[in-house]
């Protein structure tokens, strides 16, 4: 019961929130569900990784890798650009609260907290970007080869 509350409910909320964002970004048809599922998947990986490893930069990196693999595969299947899936699915992880808090410290004049929160936010954004780019690059070199070999057999 506790596990459901801590692991699954946030994923469900994240998924529905992602679907709401999908409407704002004008994603049509089944794509919007794929984005929602991607968001839930990413947050699930993040939560599990956080329990096992602690911290938040490394879990965010792993979640971004998971999301990128999922989005690339879905983009191949649906023959669509990967951009939309990737952007919306990353939303729950994206450091919105961090950048907001940082600027709130800045306006309040708390320079030390501002700098440390801002740097941490940049770290989160960078780890998400590196994770997503890494998985995409590796998959882009691997997937065409795999499908070509399948055709041969």
């Amino acid at each position: 019961m506790e596990l459901i509350q801590e692991l699954f409910l946030p994923c469900l909320w994240g998924m529905i929130a992602c679907i709401g964002f999908g409407l704002v970004f004008n994603i049509q048809g089944a794509g919007i569900l794929i984005c929602g599922l991607g968001g839930a998947l990413g947050w699930f990986i993040y939560l599990v990784a956080q329990r096992l490893l602690g911290g938040d930069i490394l879990p965010a990196f792993l979640a971004a890798v998971g999301i990128a693999i999922y989005s690339e595969v879905m983009a191949r299947i649906r023959r669509c650009p990967v951009t939309g899936y990737l952007q919306v699915a990353l939303l729950p992880l994206v450091p919105g609260a961090g950048i907001y808090n940082a600027m709130r410290y800045c306006v309040a004049g708390e320079t030390n907290q501002f700098i440390s929160t801002l740097l941490h936010t940049f770290g989160m954004a960078a780890s998400l970007a590196v994770g997503a780019m890494l998985a995409s690059t590796v998959l882009r070199t691997l997937l065409p080869r795999l499908s070509r070999e399948k055709k041969k057999h």
Binding site: P81, T83, Q87, L90, G96, A97, I99, Y100, A125
Partner: protein
């Protein structure tokens, strides 16, 4: 001149792609591939608000076109259509007039959610992000109301008044945080932070920051730095808006 038409066609496709919020490398690569498919050797350069396409005619005469990209949101449907069309044109290489018509038809008759559905999207995103940030059920409901307020401002009022992006975001954030304060005072919501951050997720530039990092990783440093600055400016607008309404709330 056929080369003028080809150049215009390539630039128009790039413009539509930029307008739909595609990454810089995708824009540059698509225009490059399209014009290469027509037997040209184009040079393409894009930064977030400008696109330059240049090519040499076989007579050695260089022609260039530049287009400025106005402020835009993200429109995945348009992006998918542009991408499909670009692949199709590269594969089939139809006559220039026909290709031009296809590209001009991109932004017409595309599927687009109505403004009411967009408003619903704002409400759902705000409500469930509040729940996501450890808000209770009532917090979700109040965040939904705040999201409605922000959505009405962003979709109906702010755009029509012709405010620039900075002030539009600032006032949106002020509305969100003021509504959150009022709703907690009245007793509907409990956790002000969850409501505020959940609602601000629809304005917050977290995604812009992550996209900026992805541009930098892809090697488009100018665009990446450009977008990073934009993200920080938006965050500043949001926190100013929040501070203003906190001051009013006191």
């Amino acid at each position: 001149m056929e080369y003028d038409d080809l150049l215009n066609m390539g630039t128009e496709l790039g413009y539509q792609l930029m307008f739909s919020g595609a990454e810089i490398y995708r824009v540059e690569e698509s225009v490059f591939r399209l014009l290469t498919a027509y037997g040209l050797q184009p040079q393409v350069f894009a930064i977030p608000n400008c696109l330059i396409v240049s090519l040499n005619t076989p007579q050695g005469h260089p022609i260039t076109r530049m287009r400025r990209i106005p402020t835009h949101g993200t429109d995945i449907e348009l992006l998918e259509r542009c991408n499909d069309l670009c692949r199709r044109l590269c594969r089939e290489v139809p006559p220039v007039e026909q290709a031009k018509e296809l590209i001009d038809g991109l932004s017409k008759n595309k599927r687009q959610y109505s403004t009411r559905v967009l408003l619903f999207g704002y409400v759902v995103a705000a409500a469930f992000f509040a729940a996501f940030f450890n808000g209770s059920l009532l917090d979700g409901v109040s965040a939904g109301i705040c999201g409605l307020g922000v959505g009405v401002w962003m979709l109906y009022l702010g755009g029509k008044l012709g405010f620039n992006g900075f002030f539009q975001t600032l006032i949106g954030a002020a509305i969100a945080s003021l509504l959150a304060l009022v709703l907690t005072k009245v007793g509907v919501g409990q956790n002000v932070d969850a409501i505020t951050i959940g609602t601000l997720m629809v304005l917050v530039p977290g995604m812009a920051l992550t996209n900026a990092m992805r541009e930098i990783m892809a090697g488009d440093i100018i665009s990446g730095v450009n977008r990073t600055a934009e993200a920080i400016l938006t965050a500043a607008a949001i926190s100013l808006g929040v501070v203003i309404s906190l001051a009013i709330g006191m």
